[in-house]
Symmetry: C3
Subunit: 139 residues, 3 copies
Amino acid sequence: MAVITGTIERRTAGFNDIHDITGDVSNLVKESGLGSGTATVFVTGSTGGVTTLEYEPGLVKDIPEALEKVAPMGKTYHHDATWGDGNGFSHVRAALVGPSLTVPFRDGRLMLGTWQQIVLLDFDNKARSRSVVVQIMGE
Amino acid sequence: MAVITGTIERRTAGFNDIHDITGDVSNLVKESGLGSGTATVFVTGSTGGVTTLEYEPGLVKDIPEALEKVAPMGKTYHHDATWGDGNGFSHVRAALVGPSLTVPFRDGRLMLGTWQQIVLLDFDNKARSRSVVVQIMGE
Amino acid sequence: MAVITGTIERRTAGFNDIHDITGDVSNLVKESGLGSGTATVFVTGSTGGVTTLEYEPGLVKDIPEALEKVAPMGKTYHHDATWGDGNGFSHVRAALVGPSLTVPFRDGRLMLGTWQQIVLLDFDNKARSRSVVVQIMGE
């Protein structure tokens, strides 16, 4: 058994920018040399999220539209009263989607469905650099 | 330390069909012979989800009603324009609920609450076979 | 590789009471003596949730307001018809937020962002004691 820590860096545009990071996670698993285990994908920061999605242009628009019903971008948040940075919606969306995802792998391959990609969602209200930790554990 | 991979197969009806898979996960942990560790429950495919729920007939109706507010079944999605398969709501619901859950176990038993079951949610718009991977790691 | 099980006990007020448990999880990781691995934070019970959040008074109000749109507290739920305990909203919120979170650590430190705290959310409709299991695995 071993633990191997990888990191993925992405430049994101904010405002529900969704990135397919499956290839990066998959490569880190291959480079680890491990056969069987789990890859925990964790986004650093409180305005990002991680989940799986069929990564295609339609759903990349549908996800933000659904979240608009729960945490609209035009609303004033208590958070904005605290800091005045105008990204209350970003924090609420990120907390609900969640920052972590654990994906099993076997024979060095992630056990995803054919149309199931690992995605990073950046909910912030500005462009930024994002770090995603990939903690690979297995044998 | 060891890694043991189990699989649960279920025939699902789609349209927010919710299955209690606690017994299956619990049996896989017992069969692993491990005492202490984690069971990562991961649904393969981009229209399914996994979470915990008190599995009783009322909540099995309440969960779809809540998700109807976020991703209504009657709405037209950008995804449907891409593929024409009419399951945009399924993908959005699945991405928000999430495909993975990690449950600790000790003395060979899952550390769940008395009324807390592990559930598989099938959001697709047709009946299908579902595979759930259970990655058991521990000692 | 080792598995170390910790527990956090908290007295909660219910009704979307949000607690910062980062310090407790961080201490358990330090006490484990492990350098690198994952901490799986799992709330026992079907009316609690775990996620990350910038823990500040504004967002502690914003999160319940967002969930009010998905699972309002004033609505009658099918669950309430089954048990009559009036906490249908609690179960729905808990299932959607999810009970588990897996956080990587390295050099004995959780790999969180500066403004990213691990929070326990109690959605129940009464004060209670909550147990959170922290399963620490690594080397």
